[in-house]
């Protein structure tokens, strides 16, 4: 018998401190597997966000930098322009990427920076304890919209892929979900493409991953996965929003 899923060398071999059923761990593993498969670990620099994934700098076995909340794309820009031979990715949550860091997101896309962005959309602020995110669904409760997000008070959730698709510089945009095993496999394909694009100097590539935060959704992990499929995907449809081929 043979072990068919060896742990990726691009991930540090230690338990991650994310909550049970959290999507961050799944996406971390996928990125690490891709670094192994593309043989880019030794020339990859990752940018860790402020958010639950702040600890990503401990987990990825490549050079890492952790910077201010939301500024990942600017930091990645600085690294990529200084060291074009490096593969640079920015890992960000929805508060990080679509709220405080929205300007950096939009402008790095507009400039078509040759970087890869992994955007974890879990419709909530995880690290700070479950406040409303720019992606929180209408009616979804959070600690800062306890009665549920309402249009009158909070406005509408932001659909980042759809929005960025208006920009010529955004070369590759895809939304996937890690709530099911087939979804995880699709997500890996998308992220791999986002890295391959950078190797091929295609320009700005982003994968938006719908992901579970069972802890702050007040659900079991299994319920959380169902929430992604039943509640999030109707608002955030999966698919390719821009690709270099199109």
């Amino acid at each position: 018998m043979k072990l068919i899923n060896k742990k990726p060398a691009s991930l540090v071999d230690k338990p991650m401190r994310y909550c049970p059923g959290c999507g961050h761990g799944i996406v971390h593993r996928l990125i690490a597997e891709i670094m192994d498969e593309l043989d880019i670990r030794e020339r990859t620099v990752g940018v860790a966000p402020v958010g639950c994934a702040v600890f990503a700098d401990e987990y990825f076995n490549c050079d890492m930098i952790q910077g201010p909340h939301g500024r990942g794309p600017a930091i990645a820009t600085g690294i990529k322009r200084s060291k074009p031979e490096c593969i640079v990715f920015s890992y960000q949550g929805d508060g990080d990427l679509a709220s405080i860091g929205m300007a950096e997101t939009v402008h790095s896309a507009a400039r078509s920076e040759n970087i890869t962005i992994i955007f974890i959309n879990n419709a909530i602020y995880g690290m700070t304890g479950g406040q409303m995110a720019p992606t929180t669904l209408l009616g979804q409760t959070s600690t800062t919209c306890p009665a549920g997000r309402s249009v009158a008070v909070n406005g509408y959730p932001i659909k980042v892929c759809e929005m960025l698709a208006q920009l010529q510089g955004a070369r590759y945009l895809e939304r996937t979900a890690v709530s099911t095993a087939p979804g995880v496999i699709k997500t890996k394909k998308a992220i791999k493409k986002a890295f391959q694009n950078q190797i091929d100097c295609v320009g700005f590539s982003m994968v938006e991953v719908l992901s579970m935060c069972p802890t702050n959704w007040g659900m079991t992990p299994v319920q959380g996965a169902r929430f992604v499929d039943e509640k999030m995907t109707p608002v955030y449809p999966l698919g390719v929003f821009r690709s270099p081929e199109k």
């Binding site: 500024r71 600085g78 950096e104």
Partner: protein
């Protein structure tokens, strides 16, 4: 001897950084520093560096955070409101021990203020500026030539001690034209040793992490204590100042940057009238040349501080003389005094001495 070139202060600042080996510039337009990004926009590509007009000052400082983490010499510049926006990023650079270099071409404040010269950002510059416990090396030129020559020293100190370094100028220094002679040969970045913390190609070495946080029990304090020790060394070894005619003086005028130029004129007027007046000018504002000032205070018992702010710089003067001398203040918050005005102040104080 190198030739003298007629340059605007902001251009000298930019050219000085390029000659010192800067190969990455990110900035955002704001008067009165626009000549810096404008100059860098063509100069950086010419020397094989990168120039980016960022979407904001916040983005610009974070681009620097990333770029300088790869071990190269970087620069950003702005003016007062823009520097306020950069403060979170500067604090992260301090926390991650990244040797960035930036310049503040100060304008009138607070708020949008005006676009004329001011010195109201003294506290912000010399007390860290952003959140947390840290300092930034602050150099205060008072002529265009120093605008061009100080960036090199900023890089060297920033790299030696691993902290941000800045030039504190103002609208007058940025806009005026003077002949400049660069006092150093252009630095070829390829000749600089790659730092052992720089991110990039990791082949054949352990991975590296650049971060400003440490959540492990008690570790952050240890890190800060180590940093504090570095700061202490800087304070001990790296101060710069200029004394003029302080030896026989009964009154010493203390001023930095543009005010020190004006004060120098007023001191000359006083000397011409036979008054024993000298000038103390700190060139590094942090580390503050407190010992040099205290040495003067051993024999001079009267100081007059001239500053284009409400009384910020005066606090460092008072701390340094530590009650051993009388310290008067002539404050022009967002106003530029004339040499005549300063002379009148000198006369007033001087008469009170006898």
């Amino acid at each position: 001897m190198a030739e003298k070139i007629l340059m605007k202060g902001n251009e000298a600042l930019a050219e000085g950084a390029v000659r010192a080996g800067c190969r990455f510039f990110a900035g955002y337009p704001i008067t009165p520093q626009n000549e810096v990004p404008e100059y860098m926009s063509w100069r950086m590509p010419e020397v094989g560096g990168s120039f980016i007009q960022a979407e904001s000052e916040v983005a610009a400082i974070n681009m620097l955070y990333g770029a300088s983490a790869t071990g190269i010499r970087t620069m950003t510049s702005s003016s007062s409101p823009g520097i306020s926006l950069k403060q979170e990023g500067i604090s992260y650079c301090a926390g991650a021990d990244l040797p960035i270099f930036f310049a503040n071409v100060v304008r009138g404040g607070p708020g949008l203020g005006n676009i004329a010269a001011g010195q109201g950002d003294y506290f912000q510059s010399t007390r860290g500026g952003g959140h947390g416990d840290y300092y930034t090396i602050v150099m205060a030129p008072n002529c265009v030539e120093e605008m061009g020559n100080f960036p090199r020293r900023c890089y060297e100190l920033a790299e030696k001690y691993r902290l941000p370094a800045m030039i504190l100028a103002d609208a007058i220094l940025g806009q005026m034209m003077e002949p400049v002679e660069f006092d150093f040969e252009p630095v070829d970045p390829k000749t600089l040793k790659a730092p052992d913390w720089a991110l990039g190609i990791a082949a054949g070495r352990e991975r590296r992490i650049v971060r400003s946080y440490d959540l492990r029990e008690g570790k952050l304090e240890l890190l800060n204590l180590e940093r504090m020790e570095r700061y202490r060394k800087i304070q001990e070894k790296e101060t710069l100042h200029e004394n003029r005619q302080t030896d026989d003086a009964k009154l010493v005028v203390a001023a930095y940057g543009t005010s020190s130029r004006i004060a120098a004129g007023a001191v000359k007027m006083a000397r011409d009238k036979g008054m024993k007046v000298g000038l103390f000018r700190p060139i590094t504002l942090w580390p503050f040349p407190a010992k040099a000032l205290a040495a003067i205070a051993e024999h001079v018992k009267n100081f007059l501080v001239v500053e284009m702010s409400m009384g910020q710089f005066v606090e460092d003067v008072r701390l340094a003389v530590c009650g051993t001398a009388r310290v008067d203040l002539y404050a022009r918050p967002a106003g530029v005094p004339s040499a005549d005005e300063v002379f009148t102040e000198i006369e007033k104080v001087y008469q009170g001495i006898r």
